[in-house]
Amino acid sequence: MASIDYSSTELMIVNSARLLQDGDVVFVGVGLPNLACNLAQRTHAPHLQMIYEAGVIGARPARLPLSIGDPTLVSGATSVCSMYDIFTLYLQRGNVDVGFLGGAQIDRFGNINATVIGDYAQPKTRLPGSGGSREIAAWANRCYIITPHQKRRFPEKVDFCTSAGFFTGQGERDRLNLRGKGPQAVVTDIGILQPDESGELVLTALHPGRSLDEAKNNTGWVLKCDRCETITKPPTEEEIRILRKELDPEGIYLK
């Protein structure tokens, strides 16, 4: 089989899409998660239910949404509700299977910082803040994180915990009675990290052509790699075609 060219962004989207199961109810964010969900729906998960935090259920966007509240999400959707309803009836009540999260920092136990680098009162860098992620991280059954693999993005401990992963270890979530199971995978451009029994993120897969050393050198803690026995399947021609021709023809996110 001839190999095809793909970018690291396409690689991350394709691998994220493959984590979704047919029938999953997904709380979708714009950008890469939106592309991953729409790709999954057009390939192996035709019954994927897409919910957007702006209050749109069963969205079938006809064009690439460029903001979380794009009007294309509404036209042709199955339902629209208020934000209070989307966060209570859908998310808090336990009707969401999957949430996608992102942030400037993800630490060893999957905690995410999207709020501030440095001190909160005297920030070095002020980031946008939680948005919907604080509750998505706590209450979606499973969460996935998509992020480039860089040392500054993977510190030992986040400066500010915007959304909870496993705190300082597995069991903490149960103690707090959080209904969701927390981050189940971090998809990077080098490979895939997943929590072990202690809640620590360990490397479980590498993408084709990437090395353990690359993964280790770009992680801010001592990354355990002894469970990394898989090389991910490269994106298929069909996956890349859907992404480039159907979902993001102008190359807005696929740069």
Binding site: V30, G31, E53, A54, G55, V56, L66, S67, I68, G69, D70, P71, L73, V74, S75, G76, V80, C81, S82, M83, Y84, F87, L91, Q92, T115, Y120, A121, Q122, P123, T125, R126, P128, G129, S130, G131, G132, S133, R134, E135, A137, A138, W139, F160, C161, T162, S163, A164, F167, E172, R173, L176, N177, L178, R179
Partner: protein, 300 residues
Amino acid sequence: MGKLCSLKEAVSQYVHDGDLVYAAGFTHLIPFAAGHEIIRQGRKNLTLARATPDLIYEQMAAAGCARKIIFSYMGNPGVGSLRNLRSLVEKGLLEIEEYSHFAMITRLQAGASGLPFLPMNETGAFDLENVNPNFKRVTDPYSGKSVVVVPPLNPDVAIIHAQRADINGNAQIWGILGEQKEAAFAAEHVILTVEEIVPEDVIRSDPNRTIIPDLIVDAVCHVPFCSHPSYTQGYYDRDNEFYLEWDKISETSESVQQYLDEWVYGVPDRDVYWKKLGETTHSRLAVHEQMSVPVNYGQY
């Protein structure tokens, strides 16, 4: 004629220095025209609350209207950072009070329902609770467990944009509903801006679509294209190009001031602003029809 008045009159009467203002709309229906009118009237020391401050509060803060921002996501949606606001916050020049989206709208829901507080399930993300004393914990009297609560948010004035309303302020909204209803019911006063004023019969033909009832509305202003560069479902598209352009404009305070001079201080109202945008922009933002199927309410 009912509560009809110009936006200029409404702002002059219902927005005062020092007020807590909530300009509603989650990406959709953001009342930019009202923000610009508040800037032109030179309001000061406002506390500006919105889940996403968006460009509207960035512009109002840059114009010197704001003392404090209450928010849950301070970014340029789909683009990146709100550079000017971010810089004001990093320099300690603007007070902030921060929530998650859910905590923010829970505050509005409490305010809209006349409740002293509302509980939320545990998230485990304690850092935000530690920096915002409005998050409190109480003991659930039924289970004995600890519960997070937030107090009501009751703005002095809410500004709500809608597709259409009658002259009394019965407003119908479709598309993303955001926190329009909650903000309106939570506020002391409501300024309603609409794309179209319609006869009461039109409203009465489809009562399920009425989100804001006249009894809580103080002023009704006919302001077509009020939301640009945000959008109004079925009327005009979101101006994503402008949101991208703003990323450059907001790089320096000089270019922000230039923008305000030309597009806010330099125009008297939204009509002139919209004409000034020009035909190319108008046609770029025009929307093709996609009608819903009417329902039968029945004659009884």
